[in-house]
Structures are given as C-alpha cells and as structure tokens.
Subunit: 407 residues, 2 copies
C-alpha cells in the first residue's frame, strides 16, 4: 500500500492534519454510543463539508493494539509491519531505541519461596508507587551495567512498570528476540524461564537468564519488589519514513510518550509542548504551522475512559475536543481528517474491532451523506467501511498530492 | 481475478451489455451531484429491477487514468495489467499496434541554442494548429522511414501532439522500452537524453537517439516546431482476451478511437458506426445483436464536460442517455450493467477516486434498495463498495454464466 502511494506522490504545498481521538469508536450503551451522546456542535458543522466512512483498523473482527492501529493510520499494512510490545513501551518512556537494541517490558513483582519453589505472590509488587519504582530502578542501574558484552539499561514507568533495554555489540534482528515471556500471568505459579522459541534466539535467552539472576540478587532485600517479570522482548522495526516515502515533513503532537515514539518510527518530529493539554497541543501546532506539511495530533483520554468503562467521562472528553476544534479549523488546513485508532466501547472496557468513524474535510469531499460524526452516521458515507491502511491515501488524494494511476 | 472467473466459465446463450458513461460519478455541487440533478425517468424505472452498489476503480483513494479504469471494468486487476501512455495515445489515434511495436507520445516543441546549449523555449511549439501539425508530420514521414532495421511511423494528434510508432524486426517487450522521457517538463532546460533505464532497453535507446537526431535535422528550418519531446515509451501489453478467457464474442461500440483501442486489447471487435452519435451507437448494436455475446457501449461526453467543470452540460449528457435508454432495454439483454469508468466531478474538473454508481439489471437482481441511479442511492445497494475488477464477475454471475466455486 505505502509503495503504491509513494509511487504516485506529487506533493504541492498542502498542509494536512490527522487528528486521532484514541479509542473514540463505541457501541451503544443502552441507546447511544459516546459519540452519539456527546454534544458536538462544531463537529456537526464540520461534517457538513466532510467525506465520511468508517475504518476497520486491521482486518474484520481483529482488535488492535495501539501500535498496530497507529501504523495502519499512518498508511502501513499492519500485518506486514509490527512493533514489538517492548519497543512500544520503550518508546513510551522516551527511550532511544536503535537497530542494536532489544527492548523488554518489565513488572516489578513480589515472590517468595514455598517448598523450595519460587512463587509469584503479587504480579505487580503491590502496585508500588512510582517514587519507590524510581528508587529500585536506580539500584538496578548501579548494580547491573553490562552482561558479557551486552549493555543493560533500566528506566522506570508508572507504578510497578519499567523497561529494560539491552544493547548488543551487533545488530539484533526480530528473529533473535523470540523469547518466552517470564510472567506466568497468575499468582501462585513460578516465574517462567526466558526460553528461546527458535534457534536464533538462543544467545539472547542466555543473556536474559543471566539478567534475571542478577535482578533477583540485587532486589533480594526488597520487601515488595523483590523480583521482575519480563515480557514483550523485541527489536527495533524497520519502517520507511514519511520523508523517504513522500518527501514531506511531518510532526507528531502528543501528550503521551508512546505515541510520540510511534510517530518517530515513521519519521515524525515531536513538537515540544508548553503544557501537557489539548490546548497546549493546539498552541504547538499554531506555532509550527509553517514548518511541517503533515501534523498528527493524538488525544489520549477518550481511550482511557473507555478502558475504565466510564461512558460519561469519555463523552466529556469528546465534548472538550469539540470545544477546541474551531481553533484547528481556523488554521486552514487543506485536509482535516478526524478518526480514532480503534474503538474502545466503554460498555466493553477494552479495545475492540468495531468500525471507527472517519471524517475528511477538504475542497474535494463528497459531503452531505452523514449528519453527525458518529458511528451510525459515518456508516452512510461514501467511503463505506475500509481498512485503516487506506486512510492516508485518501488524505493525500484529497490534498491533490497523488498523480493518476496508469494512463 | 480473471483466471478465477475464467475457471468457472459456463456460457450459455446469454446476451450482456456493459454501458460505460465515462466519468459519470460526481460529488455534490452545492447540494446535488450531476446524476442527482439530472431528470432520468428511464433510469429511475430501470433501477427498480436492478442490483446496485458503487465501485472504486483501482484502490481506495487512487485516481485512475482511462486505460487502467477500463481494464478494471473489463475484469483485469489494474495493478497487474498496465497500458503504457504511448500505446494509449496510439490507440487514441487509431494506430494499429502489435507485439513488434513501440509507441511514443510526442510533442512538437521550440528549441534554440544558447551558449552552444540546446534549450527548450516552448514545450508545445506555441500550440501550433492541427493543420500545421499535419504538414510537419508529413515532412517527417517523407524523410524518416527506417532507422537500422526499425520502421518509423508518425501520426498527427491535435495541436502540438503526435504519436510515433517504431516497428522492430522482432517482438519487443515491456523491459525493452524502459526509456527516460526526453521532455524536461520546464522551459529553459535542455531536452533530456533518451537514456535506457535498464540494460535491456539499451538497443531501443540507441534507435531513439538516432531518431531524435533525424527529427532535429528534418525540422531545423521550422519556425516554431523545430524539435520534438518524446514521452511514454511503451510496448504492446499482453492481455488475455475475452475470447480466450471466456470463449465469448465481444464487441465495442465507441465513438472515440482510444476506447475502441482499449477494447481491441482485450479482444473486442469494434462495431462500425453510421453516425458518430449515441443514436448511431445504438443502431449499430441493434444491427449486430445476433453476432455477439457481450457488448461494451462507451459514452464519452459525460467525462469531457466533467473535465471542463461544466455541471450543466454533464447533466444534459446524462439526460440524453436516459432518453435513448429504452431502445437498449427493448433489445432484451439478459444483463444490462450501467456504470462509469471513474468519477469526474465537475466540481473538481478532473478524474477522481470517488466511488462510481453501478446498476445491474437481470432476472437475478437483488432489487429495491436504491431509488435512483445516483451515488448516494447506489451506496445503499447490496453490492456495497467493491473494486471495479469484480464487476465482470457480477455480470457473468447474473447471466448464469459461472459455475459454483468448490464442492
């Protein structure tokens, strides 16, 4: 998909913005979805000039993670390109990852010996507070710096979460990171061994085994966080950037590091924010409007409240966005596209596979088919239901940035 | 796609017609599209018995050229089959192209020497009139007939345009025509060399170089058109014909040579017309109704007026078609399919990616879902939005000409 699009590129001076309301799609809670319930006068106005439809993030019935869903929105086939969970977490903590690095998600956990067997008693070490996490990570960092020729780096996340980066002397490929998670997923069980799931990952598994022994030793005096469970072993993915593919300058405008990281993977420069709020994000876009061709604006909280099952607060987040929307519209983008990366129905308290409404406002929009930016109204639009990986083609088409295909 | 369809073929004595209103799809001009604005009592009547949907010519967001869009309507994957621009122009001028031929689009141009460098001063030679073009082409034809063992043939297009056909002693493949365009695209630059972009095209590039030297020599006394810029070097594409794939006899009924040419590529015999009008086309179909299994009727002007941004005249062309439609219906085809090859919204004055309405009338139609043959009404149909390459499968299915797939 990205190669066909790239082969037709013909960029004039257009300014485009992709606004992602994370997890905005829903299913009716009794009678209405969050988008239907929300009062959105500005979206209602915008949609009159917009082409509409719904996207499915990956494939019919497939619920996406944030990384895959975003890669699709950025125009890559999410089945061909995959970001490992460890790398995604590392990006989320603003850790620099390169082609020689292996990234791992860690949980601090409580363990004890029962009948001479090491047993997990709390997979989150009693959800220790972040300050406590910082102290422990400092301890680990001071005591574990190198294993054989592999450099070890730790960074705290929130509560019990952390990331470990292992820097190899050489490039490390996806095939060398095929390691079993050590989290047994339930308490009362032993931590699993970091078994290599293919031959090429043998050396990696040896290093991880040594790492776990060292972690256990350094943390043995800790009351709660006296061990770590490791998951999502992954290497840096190779993804052609927006600049390489289309020759355009793109910026990400995000409040959560992870989304900044995903943007960076595809070549988006993160804009600095004065305040970590939607207003701060909009102000950053205004300040940089002449410096970039493409902006990616990410709004997180719609997803968070969906995950919490909090219908009312998700509605409020949508309404907050709607209130500030005119500031974005007034920047006179050639194309404004608004969608979510996936649905997070508060009724389900989780990501889902349900189609996500899409709006594209440009001078070339087939407008008038949807009355509101809601799931049911966008399903009436001329874009129909389409795979998310095509959205970027539509955006570039609307901007007049693609040549005709064929003679 | 065409191979699956071919593998299931089971043709009885059905008569099918595919009617292509070129560029008929639109987007609302204020409130209505051209199809919505047009008064179409006969289409309104026909759609009551029709299955409906919308096709996208190539892929989501991709705007097609005429050649690719037609290949898709004829059931080929347009990403696998591509007609070179030179061949398309040649077909448009009614030039016979075969497997030993290389076709080139040419522009007469004005050049002059500045500091001993040849510089393009007008890429269109001041848009010379067609009569002037005819005179120059005659001069070229008299002076350049053969280069090494390659026969050279010129034919005038409109204004500054012409086509050059080079007939090789042997078959010439796509890989032997990978030659850089010599048009620098802007004035003040030198014409580019016809560099071979791969090894296999070396011999071709040598002939083209000699050809350009001869053209320069023959035209050196001309005031305006004293050189030529060449583009779209292409060989005859290899496409399995309708006859080969399905064992049916097919006819094209077109008023523009290019569409006759595209039809010929897939094995359609062009019907001779007494008058170059839609009535003339219909009369030709009536006269040949017993001689063919499949008719392709092409109506050009809907696209032309779309390209001109002339909403009103595009509407009139649709209404003209509607008026004559009953004559076609009365021929009792088993299947009547009506669509466009792509959209040409008069609001955009160009081809676009927007979905194109489709109607299929047969005894097996899922009818009753669309009230009119318009974009918005056809979006409600049971065919949904589908890639154009599938249309022919639907037509054959409706005609009862395909076996079940699998046991």
């Amino acid at each position: 998909m990205h190669l066909l699009r790239s082969s037709l590129k013909n960029f004039n001076k257009s300014k485009n913005i992709l606004i992602v309301l994370d997890g905005v799609g829903g299913i009716p809670n009794k009678y209405k979805t969050e988008l239907e319930f929300a009062k959105t006068p500005n979206l209602n106005k915008l949609i009159k000039k917009s082409e509409t439809g719904c996207h499915i993030p990956i494939k019919e019935g497939i619920t996406p993670g944030s990384g895959s869903a975003h890669l699709a929105l950025f125009g890559y086939d999410p089945l061909d390109f995959n970001i490992g969970r460890g790398v995604l977490e590392a990006l989320g903590l603003d850790i620099d990852i390169g082609s020689k690095d292996l990234a791992i998600r860690g949980n601090f956990a409580s363990v004890e010996y029962k009948n001479k067997k090491l047993i997990v008693t709390d997979r989150r070490a009693g959800r220790i507070i972040t300050e406590e996490n910082n102290r422990i990570v400092k301890k680990l960092s001071q005591n574990i710096k190198i294993i054989d020729k592999y450099k070890i780096f730790f960074k705290s996340g929130l509560e019990h979460r952390f990331v470990c980066k292992i820097s190899s002397p050489n490039k490390i490929s996806k095939d060398e990171c095929n390691i079993q998670d050590t989290d047994p997923q339930i308490v009362g069980q032993s931590p699993l061994d970091p078994i290599n799931l293919n031959k090429k990952s043998l050396q990696t598994s040896i290093i991880i085994k040594k790492l776990l022994d060292k972690i256990k030793n350094v943390l043995k005096q800790e009351k709660n966080a006296n061990f770590a469970l490791l998951r999502g072993f992954s290497s840096y993915p190779t993804i052609p950037t927006f600049d390489n593919l289309y020759g355009i300058k793109s910026a990400s405008v995000t409040t959560y590091p992870m989304y900044k990281g995903i943007g960076r993977l595809v070549g988006m420069e993160p804009l600095p924010l004065n305040t970590n709020s939607l207003q701060g994000q909009i102000t950053a876009i205004k300040a940089n409007i002449n410096n970039y061709d493409f902006f990616y604006l990410h709004i997180k909280k719609t997803d968070s409240y969906g995950e919490d099952g909090n219908f009312k607060e998700k509605v409020k987040e949508i309404e907050k966005f709607d209130k500030l929307l005119p500031q974005l519209i007034n920047l006179n983008f050639n194309v404004v596209a608004i969608t979510g990366d996936h649905s997070t129905p508060s009724r389900m308290k989780s990501h889902s596979w349900h189609p996500v409404p899409v709006l594209i406002r440009s001078d070339n929009s087939y407008n008038g088919l949807s009355k509101r930016f809601t799931e049911s109204e966008c399903l009436k639009g001329s874009l129909g239901i389409f795979e998310a990986k095509h959205l970027l083609t539509y955006i570039f088409a609307h901007a007049g940035n693609l040549d005709k295909f064929g003679a």
